[in-house]
Structures are given as structure tokens and as C-alpha cells.
């Protein structure tokens, strides 16, 4: 039987997954766990029984998310009796599922927002067939987020093997690439940057996919040295819409069958609502959603474009999106703090690193370490400023707002 997942020193076969699904006929609608096999087991079980699922990070503090019912976290629900004979039956049930799957986005206006997806939007880009069999994937994304779900469904529907490398350090990633003969890697540019510099090449790797952040030619050149036989491609996926298009190099092409679902206004890419999940937080302009991504056409007739930048202020740190307003609000709530300004500083490792400038109340004494410690209790780790500078004053705009440009 094929291996489903390697995690740490443990091996989980597809048979173990089937048995686990058939034996324990209850699931958690809202499951917080660090155990990735248990997480996938619960995810698949929920989907194939057409049950609703809410996916949250294992380290998420419920107060960071609006509309999350804390009382149902890790409370099991009994399912109607079922039996699946084999993995094919499970995959078929998954593809035809009517489950509503809720994931969270970090929006521009504060807390993460709920987005409800169907299995169709989540698996839109999954490719199936003989040439997709026997692939071994380095699993390098957070499994509760869009990119991690995309990789999971692609691998699972083709009965591929996943090797968990999420948040692992460089030497461990290479060790697993070698030991498990990994053929496919899908990850953020930050993940690949951490594999640099080139020391050995790994010719068994056939495909390298980058997503979630802007990448650059310096990185491509190095990836080609490390994985000389791999084809490299980029994907564009968002929490709101799932995976939309992929392309080679630094351009993207909108597939012909959905080309009429996009329009560009003031350089911003607008996406038709039929391609999106459902969320109360989406604001539509007619039938279109503002993606916040600024693009330029390379060839408008063929739907080929290049990304320029993000319209809003969201800071991308190693693929995590951080809303500076949320962090500022949390800092400002600390006793002794008058005001704060949070911004991203360009960084060669993570793309950006979060910096906070803080103005203290007169006479108040608090150290940067103490502030970070307080923030740790209120925010996920990636949102916490890595450098705190104490300032006497802030520069203001003419309307009295903090100047964000640095």
C-alpha cells in the first residue's frame, strides 16, 4: 500500500488513513491540533461525509478571529454510519462532496475574515491522471491555509506521498529530500531562500512550485542549480479565490475558459464573484472583487500579465500576511504606550521583517523584551515585531494621520 504521509519519524500508509476513517465515525467540525495526520484524517472524514469544517491554525488564539465559536473547538460530532471500501471510494466521495469548508484570511481591516469554500473552489486546479501518479511531495505549507490545501488535494487525489517539511530547518529539509526521494516541492520563495546557498544538486526533484510572495531572478538561478532537472513554475492563489492561474517565469497567464472573469481597473486585478468563496467581508464592485494586486499586461489578448505590487498595506513576512493596523492596535493597548507605528522593512530572508516604532507615555518604563512578551500572549508569533524602536514623536500627514511611508 502506498505511503500517505511521512511526519517526523512516523510513516502513515493510505491503508492506515482508510482504517482510521472507517473505525472512528465521529469528527471535529473545528479542530485545533499539532498532529498533522490527525488533522488530515479529520479533514478527509469531514469532506467525504459532506460535513462542515472550520480550519484554524494550531497556535491560533480565538480572540484573533471574528465570529469563531470557541465552545465548539475540539468537540467531536457523531457521523451517520458509513463505510468506504478503498481509497478510490474515498477520493470519489471527496470530489463530489457538498461540504462547506471555512478558512481564514488576514484582511486589510483588522481581524482574519471567514471565507467559506466548496470542494470545487478548493480543488479547481487539481490535475489527475497517470502522469501525476507516484509523486512524492515535500509538504512545506501550513495545512490550514489555501496553499497547503491545494498541495494536499493535488497529492491526495493522485494517491501521492506527502513528506512534512513545514517549518523545518535547512539540513532537515535536505535530509528528507534525499531520504524520501522527493520529486515535487511547492513552497513560498522564503522556503527556497532558506535552502540557499547551493551546495549539492538534487536531480530527482522534477517540479518546483513557488507561491504566496513575489520571487526574483536571483532565487530562480539558485533553485536551478540545486534542482537542475526541475521545471519551475509560479502559482497565484488566494484565500478568497483558491488557485487561479500558474505560469513559467515571472508572468502569469489566465486560462482561456475563465479569461472573461477578470478585468483590470487602475492597474488593479478584479476577479468575478463566480470564482470566489463566500464571505460577508467581501466588498463587490458590481460583480467584481478587488484583489488588491496591481498588475501590468504583457499580452492582453492572450491574458498574460505580470504582478507589480499590492495595493494595500498588508506586509508579507515569509508568506504570512500581516495587517499592521492589527499589530498597532495590540501594542497601543499595552499600559504605558502612547502610540505605535508598525511597518515592514525589506529583508533578504523573509521578504519583509516587522518593525514597530513606539512612543511611550512620559515617565513610563518598559523594555522591548517586555513588550514582545505581552504581544506573545495576544498575537500569533509571525505578527510580533522583530525590532522595537522607541521614538519621541511620529511624523504626521496633513490630515493628522501617521505617515506610513518609510
Amino acid at each position: 500500500m502506498e505511503v500517505f504521509l511521512y511526519n517526523g519519524g512516523e510513516t502513515f500508509s493510505y491503508e492506515m488513513l482508510i482504517n482510521s476513517i472507517n473505525q472512528n465515525q465521529e469528527y471535529y467540525p473545528l479542530y485545533k491540533t499539532h498532529d498533522i495526520f490527525a488533522y488530515f484524517d479529520n479533514l478527509v472524514k469531514g469532506i467525504i461525509t459532506n460535513s462542515p469544517l472550520v480550519l484554524v491554525d494550531s497556535d491560533l488564539n480565538p480572540s484573533e478571529v471574528a465570529g469563531l465559536d470557541e465552545s465548539i473547538i475540539n468537540v467531536p460530532t457523531r457521523l451517520d454510519e458509513y463505510h468506504f471500501d478503498d481509497i478510490d471510494a474515498i477520493i470519489t466521495a471527496l470530489q463530489n462532496s457538498t461540504s462547506e469548508i471555512t478558512i481564514f484570511t488576514s484582511g486589510t481591516t483588522g481581524q482574519p475574515k471567514k471565507v467559506v469554500h466548496s470542494i470545487n473552489t478548493l480543488t479547481r486546479s487539481v490535475r489527475k491522471g497517470d502522469k501525476y501518479k507516484r509523486q512524492i511531495w515535500a509538504y512545506a505549507y501550513n495545512p490550514t491555509h489555501m496553499a497547503g490545501l491545494q498541495v494536499f488535494f493535488q497529492a491526495f487525489e493522485n494517491q501521492n506521498t506527502l513528506v512534512n517539511v513545514f517549518n523545518m530547518q535547512r539540513s532537515d529539509v535536505y535530509q528528507r529530500i534525499e531520504e524520501y526521494k522527493i520529486t515535487h516541492i511547492s513552497a513560498t520563495p522564503t522556503f527556497y531562500r532558506l535552502l540557499l546557498p547551493y551546495e549539492h544538486s538534487y536531480p530527482l526533484v522534477q517540479r518546483i512550485t513557488l507561491g504566496g510572495e513575489k520571487s526574483d531572478n536571483h532565487l530562480y538561478d539558485n533553485i536551478k542549480k540545486i534542482f537542475p532537472e526541475a521545471k519551475i513554475n509560479n502559482v497565484y492563489a488566494s484565500t478568497e479565490a483558491g488557485s487561479l492561474f500558474a505560469a513559467k517565469g515571472d508572468c502569469f497567464q489566465i486560462p482561456e475558459k475563465i479569461r472573461d472573469k477578470f478585468t483590470v481597473v487602475d492597474e488593479e486585478l478584479l476577479i468575478h464573484k463566480s470564482l470566489l468563496g463566500k464571505s460577508d467581508s467581501f466588498k463587490y464592485d458590481g460583480d467584481y472583487y478587488h484583489s488588491g494586486d496591481l498588475i501590468e499586461w504583457v499580452n492582453i489578448d492572450d491574458g498574460i500579465f505580470r504582478f507589480k505590487s499590492r495595493k494595500n498595506e498588508v506586509i508579507n513576512v515569509g508568506g504570512y500576511k500581516i495587517n499592521p493596523g492589527e499589530v498597532e492596535e495590540t501594542i497601543n493597548s499595552i499600559k504605558g504606550v502612547t502610540q505605535s507605528l508598525v511597518y515592514g522593512k525589506a529583508n533578504s530572508i523573509l521578504g519583509n521583517v516587522i518593525i514597530a516604532e513606539i512612543q511611550l507615555e512620559e515617565g513610563s518604563i518598559i523594555s522591548d523584551l517586555e513588550i514582545r512578551k505581552i504581544l506573545k500572549e495576544k498575537l500569533q508569533d509571525f505578527k510580533i515585531p522583530r525590532k522595537i524602536k522607541f521614538v519621541e514623536t511620529f511624523s504626521l500627514t496633513r490630515t493628522g494621520k501617521l505617515k506610513r511611508t518609510k
Binding site: 530547518q169 535547512r170 546557498p197 513576512v317 530572508i349 521583517v353 525590532k387
Partner: protein, 73 residues
Amino acid sequence: MKGKILEIINNIRAAKEMAPVTELHAEDNLRDDLGLTSFDLAELTVNIEDEFDIDIFEDGLVNTIGEIYTKLG
């Protein structure tokens, strides 16, 4: 310069509630020996940049304390 690097690294370790190291060796690996994650390395670069005006990771990854010393040399 070496004293400053030690101070920066110990500050990062303190924020993670790790005990300070008393001295650094050129062969110390930033990740394996000093326990720094990618987020910690980013913090390290910001602080070194503020202090010395050099981005030590600009041309790819730096693995050891000795490599930092060379870049700042």
C-alpha cells in the same frame, strides 16, 4: 564588533526565553548551535544592518558566526 554580535544574538535568544550564550565561536552554526529560526535570522540581519549598515544575507545564506565576521570584516 564581536561583542556587539554576541549582544545581538543574546537579545534574540532572550526574546525566545533561551539562556544567553557566554561566547561565540567562528564555527558555531546559527541554526543548529544557536537555535535561530528563519524569523530569528531576519531579526539578526535587521540588527546587524542597523549597527554596521551591511546586509549579511544579501548574497545568499550565511550559516556560521565566522561567516558573519568575514562579511563585516
